[in-house]
């Protein structure tokens, strides 16, 4: 059953170039880390898919990079505003891992704070393009941070269970290094619940819907 509610904005916090949009949770379940929600973007036709970043008591937090009209509209919300939200959607991370290492790049760190909380604060390695972007690392406990030209895959030791989210190139590098990593991927999405077939990505040699099969996929 798809759960949809109008949620009220509790607060917005600047985190480097990003905005942490904190919503009063209402009756929505935060779901499993790595799952996502569709957020109404005021004045736009389509909602925007956002993975859950933080889930403190009574709230749902989303880390948003204002890169287009929809994300800019979300970052322009004010406390007290309301927006339609539905979810949680898709498949999140498997949490039955022995030696978890969280790997994140840029805005791809968005699902990691909630994931970290669910796993009891495991080590994390995070890569950013600038010190300003790296301010978002404060959201992830126990994190080692690097800034370009150092890349995050240089910080991954052997023998760990990797749970990663970040740009495609980073995920591909992680996959080559750790073939059984869990990777949270991203694709443009109109609906988030399997209706539009817009978010197709290649999975096992076939084009499949990321919202239904993912967004977290086993690398192998």
């Amino acid at each position: 059953m798809l759960r949809s509610e109008r949620l009220r904005v509790a607060a917005l916090e600047a985190v480097g170039p990003y905005t942490l949009l904190r919503l009063q949770r209402g009756g929505l379940d935060p779901g499993v880390p790595g799952q996502f929600f569709m957020l109404e973007a005021s004045g736009r036709l389509l909602p925007r898919p956002m993975s859950l970043c933080t889930a403190p008591g009574g709230e749902l937090g989303f880390l948003i990079d204002p890169i287009g009209p929809g994300t800019r509209a979300l970052c322009a919300l004010r406390p007290g505003d309301e927006l339609a939200v539905f979810g949680p959607l898709g498949n999140g991370f498997r949490l039955d891992v022995e030696r978890p290492l969280l790997v994140g790049g840029g805005i791809g760190i968005a699902p990691l704070p909630y994931l970290s909380a669910a796993l009891g604060g495991p080590p994390a390695v995070l890569g950013f393009r600038s010190d300003w972007h790296a301010e978002a690392a404060a959201l992830v406990p126990n994190a080692e941070v690097c800034v370009e030209p150092t890349i995050v895959t240089e910080l991954i030791p052997e023998g760990v269970d990797v749970l990663a989210c970040g740009p495609e190139a980073m995920l591909e590098a992680v996959r080559r290094l750790v073939p059984d990593a869990q990777l949270a991927r991203e694709a443009p999405m109109a609906c988030g619940y399997g209706a539009c077939y817009g978010c197709a990505v290649e999975i096992g040699g076939e084009l499949k819907r990321l919202c239904v099969e993912g967004p977290v996929l086993e690398a192998a």
Binding site: L2, A200, L207
Partner: protein, 295 residues
């Protein structure tokens, strides 16, 4: 009756949404499986969205074995959308659907903007399909032709029982920064509010030209939009892009439609059928003229 536009809902992943409809229309089924077009497949525009999915579907064999039995369990009347490249493709699929009592109607998608156009005309496709099935046949037409009523008339002569109006029309979006096409195949089908006046025009004209039952679709966001399509001559209304952002749209729009119809003095929404074609009473004509002259 409120349906979904083909390709805008997967009843198996969202059965509750499908059950809120009066009939579920499948994604277009083709003779062979299709992966669909390379990503990127969707892009939002200022007043709509573009898609270039490219008829991704399991093909008729797997559809019949795997999907149809599951769809039949939903308890919602089923319409199957059929696609192909030759009139024969359509006819062969129609023939295989004909024996399935769980299928209420067939929609012939002769107008997908994201694959090569069928080599044959809509009328040839309808004629070949007519010979292959006794089920009600709806021809889904593109408004991107010089005169949609010509195609509609030809479809009726070839044996179509109804029309689905309209399919999306081709559009292009360029990336904000790179000025390159956003979509993988460059162009895609435009849907959403931008399509509504085009859909209204096609429904209005084809109702007058053919009198056939019409499933009106294109940019329906609200009950008011649905009422306008009915007034223009649609017997049924299909929801497309609105389902993406609002899975509760079937129930919401049904309720809004009832309120809108009542607001115009109609007991039921269907009483508004073809109201846009009604002759104006003399005093209405005078009022109309007066209001125009004061503009």
């Amino acid at each position: 009756m409120i349906l979904n536009a083909s390709g805008c809902l997967d009843a198996l992943t969202a059965p509750d949404v499908a059950r809120a409809l009066d009939a579920f229309v499948t994604k277009t089924v083709t003779p062979l499986p299709r992966d669909g077009n390379a990503p990127v497949r969707i892009a939002e525009t200022d007043v709509g969205m573009l898609n270039s999915i490219g008829l991704a579907n399991p093909g008729i064999d797997r559809f019949l074995v795997r999907n149809l039995p599951e769809l039949a369990k939903l308890g919602v009347p089923l319409w199957v959308s059929v696609g192909g490249f030759e009139a024969d493709d359509y006819a062969r699929i129609c023939e295989r659907l004909d024996d399935h009592a769980e299928i209420s109607a067939i929609e012939l998608n002769v107008s997908c903007p994201n694959v090569e156009s069928p080599a044959q005309s809509a009328a040839q496709i309808v004629a070949a399909s007519r010979l292959a099935t006794r089920k009600p046949l709806y021809a889904k037409l593109s408004p991107a032709v010089p005169d949609v009523t010509e195609v509609a008339r030809a479809a009726r002569e070839a044996g179509a029982d109804g029309l689905s109006l309209v399919n999306t029309i081709r559009g292009l979006k360029l990336d904000e920064r790179t000025l390159r096409p956003v979509l993988g195949p460059a162009v895609g089908g435009l849907s959403g509010p931008a399509l509504k006046p085009i859909a209204l025009a096609a429904v209005h004209a084809c109702h007058r030209a053919t009198g056939l039952p019409i499933v009106g679709m294109g940019g329906v966001q609200t009950g008011r939009d649905a009422l306008e399509l009915i007034a223009a001559g649609a017997r049924h209304v299909a929801l497309g892009t609105v389902l993406f952002g609002d899975p509760s749209a079937p129930g919401r729009i049904r309720a809004e439609l009832a309120v809108e119809a009542a607001g115009h003095g109609w007991a039921r929404p269907e009483d508004a059928y073809a109201a846009a074609h009604a002759e104006l009473l003399p005093f209405q004509a005078i009022l109309g003229k007066r209001s125009r002259s004061t503009l």
